[in-house]
Symmetry: C2
């Protein structure tokens, strides 16, 4: 394969959709499957998912959550128990109707989400206030029929995610849990994935089917479309009543529990690709990069080989010692140029080149993936300098995405400017909205939906659609 | 709930089946689900699975394997590609036929195992010898309709497992991979789970449908029935040919790859329960115990509280520092007796009691779960002593299980003694076997199957069934 075929053949700012597909496949993150709508998560993509997973798993365990596993298939009767929830999910459910050649007595849903099958267990497990809170998380995959075309990570029929499901004694505790998780999500996305987000609530129209309210994180992609990054739902007693999750309180009386659920998925990887990638391929924030530094020895003459190899190993050991994930690429069958190209495509944050000149000058050459800046650094303080540059890369990616978000956030006072912004550049449109009827009309007429209602909106104003006073501030956008 | 209700109400050696069910539920390892045949893996059970997973994951990554994820649903056409494989699995496949109200054009199998969907990808990914070997592992769940009754961990329609799928340039490399993995499995089972096993091959009759041959680990449960602990298959070119996994070799010619697959499941947890548990509940080998040491402060008077709490925290910190997983149980709402009972049920290897007497004597009291021996140890060397006792527990559990296995292994020269052993105590029956016809007859007449054909059998003898000379030595047993 020539170097050219390996590269991305379109510019990111000219054809984002084609650029995205090429990055996903050429960086070997994911592949299509002949099962329509399904995606294969390739080893490199999976290793990024493992980083996200490890980080979140550690954080929720530190505050008392535990993992568990619940059945993949949900009897229809259970899925129907909470009617609003069922109505929301039923069009996209995959149904198992046969086992071998035998028709099943009751059809089974491939889980689109696990509230119902989990709450069946909780109703057995919760008896006394001593059994609360229940703080359980599940790492699994869920399946929801996608009628529109597949987009790896962003829109797939099956996706890997985590779903947390908790039960609390009081509504206050449940609402605190919703916010605690939203905060952990926010830090993961902003501090690890380097993606700035808007945080707030969904409207009634956009909330999770079965929730009292849904909190959300929304990011802005370079094409002006919003991407929902994760949600944390307050379910009140909407599930605990039909599922009879009841406990005997300290007051010796029976009460229904208060429940929450929350999830993030492999979609976060899609967001990172879109946010940070460039015309050369993927650009990974160091904190989620499976490999943070790739060291490439450059051999010209046989005589240099030992010195160079020693220095490569020495630096690699030093970096590993301070927890920097380092890879030595000394494959003989590829040229240095080929390797530069491959690791740029794969978005490794820093490349270190060590050749004869570097040995003589007692230096190593570091190349940043984000800016492509070349920096010669002394061997003696290579470890600390590289560590510092990795931090710079992380911060720079966040700041660059922050600027992009700011540039794609506009205020609109009336529908004329609303439409103009939407057509010209898209992005978030900050506007006042009176009620669900105006929300519905805006969606029908423009395709934009309310992405976020800020948590605390002191400001009130005239509705962008009908002009009614005392309307709330919200953020509209078209979305993925 | 009274202490009595919490305890196991039957003896392990009197009713193993009921004992097992009670341990599983009362130690909160797993629970039944209203989805028939399915099981809920509860947080405590999941944390044991996490230990097994971490250990195996680290070992295979260290020798170049990587994790990935492949679609849950497999189009019928793909599953049919290798006919022998399809015939083997089709009776137990769950079929998805509808999405919402719409009938699918092609029905989709909920994966019973992933060879077919994975090989479809491999046929695209493998082009040159440079792309080999492919060493991929998947952590997922698979679904196979269970017609017999559910037994948590041992026989469930869905189970968590890992499935490894590799492609190699040569048959020799593929066969080496099969053995490398079998060796990692063996160490995991013997050294971590403390369960001695027989290792060898399956007969043609018992091998994986689609394999050239299957290697296996077989353990012996206290009721004299064998339990298959994991398998590693040499698939030869039986899948690479129909799936067209071809590569251009160093010789510039096209060749088919050589493939392997291998898996272990949550069944290993069931084996540990059966092997080590006693009339008080679960007994966990320290190396897979989520909590290795539980420290219980015993408060009589207010005045002692600070001294005791300080000592508890001090010891906990010391143990954590040397990597011992320690839990302090200072819940005020339960008595020490209640806690002893709970942690014994959950099989925590060591309990440390610290009360006023211990403080005065500058000691702590350690109670072993396996032998229930009480040991007073000096505070000054508590850390090292506890570490040593944990090793003793691990070794003792293995030795005890080893003795049980030896006691349940018998040689039979003819069918009369074969039947007698089988009826009286079961276990492994070492015997010579001529061919598949005798194997089949023995299965029909006695219910015993060949569990293992030893890797190297120098010994030959007369077939236990037909008396034919020059027959191979094998191990029979009834099995789970």
């Amino acid at each position: 394969m020539s170097s050219k075929e390996l590269g991305i053949t379109v510019k990111k700012d000219q054809d984002l959709s084609e650029w995205y597909t090429q990055v996903v496949t050429k960086a070997q993150l994911a592949d299509y499957s002949s099962a329509k709508g399904f995606m294969v998560l390739m080893p490199y993509g999976y290793s990024i998912w493992e980083k996200i997973r490890e980080d979140f798993d550690k954080k929720i365990k530190a505050i008392g959550h535990k993992n568990a596993y619940f059945p993949l298939l949900i009897p229809e009767r259970l899925l129907k128990t909470e009617t609003e929830h069922f109505a929301g999910f039923t069009p996209e459910v995959f149904w198992v109707t046969h086992s071998g050649d035998t028709e099943l007595a009751e059809k089974l849903a491939v889980r689109p989400t696990s509230e119902t099958i989990i709450y069946e267990s909780y109703s057995k497990w919760v008896k006394s206030w001593r059994d609360l809170p229940i703080l359980i998380n599940v790492w699994n995959s869920v399946v929801r029929a996608e009628i529109t075309s597949t987009r790896p990570f962003l829109r797939t029929t099956e996706f890997l995610w985590q779903e947390g499901h908790t039960v609390h004694e009081t509504e206050k505790e449940a609402e605190e849990e919703v916010m605690t998780i939203l905060d952990i999500y926010t830090k993961l996305v902003e501090e690890k994935l380097a993606i700035p987000i808007l945080v707030g609530k969904k409207t009634e129209r956009e909330k999770f089917k079965g929730a009292v309210y849904t909190t959300t994180m929304e990011a802005m992609m370079p094409d002006g479309k919003a991407l929902q990054m994760g949600t944390s739902h307050h379910l009140g007693q909407k599930f605990s009543v039909p599922f009879e999750i009841k406990y005997l309180g300290k007051d010796e009386k029976e009460h229904y529990g208060w429940t929450t659920s929350w999830g993030i998925s492999w979609r976060l990887i899609g967001a990172a690709i879109l946010s940070h990638g460039d015309d050369r391929g993927l650009v990974l924030p160091p904190r989620i990069a499976p490999t943070q530094v790739v060291i490439i020895p450059i051999f010209y003459k046989e005589t240099d080989q030992k010195d160079i190899s020693d220095e490569v190993r020495h630096l690699s050991n030093q970096l590993e010692q301070i927890g920097i994930r380092t890879l030595i690429d000394d494959r003989a069958q590829y040229t240095p140029g080929w390797k530069y190209h491959e690791w740029e495509m794969k978005g490794v944050p820093l490349r270190v080149e060590i050749g004869p000149k570097d040995i003589r000058a007692k230096q190593v050459t570091v190349v940043r993936r984000d800016t492509r800046e070349k920096i010669a650094i002394n061997r003696s303080d290579a470890k600390d300098r590289i560590n510092g540059i990795l931090s710079d890369v992380q911060n720079h990616l966040y700041e660059r995405a922050r600027k992009s978000l700011d540039g794609l956030t506009t205020t609109a006072a009336d529908m004329k400017s609303f439409r103009k912004v939407l057509e010209e550049k898209g992005g978030f449109i900050k506007a006042f909205l009176s009620d669900e009827s105006c929300e519905e009309k805006i969606k029908i007429e423009t395709g934009a939906t309310v992405r976020v209602v800020p948590m605390k909106t002191a400001k009130k104003g005239s509705c962008v659609y009908c002009g009614a006073d005392n309307s709330n501030e919200v953020y509209f956008a078209r979305s993925y």
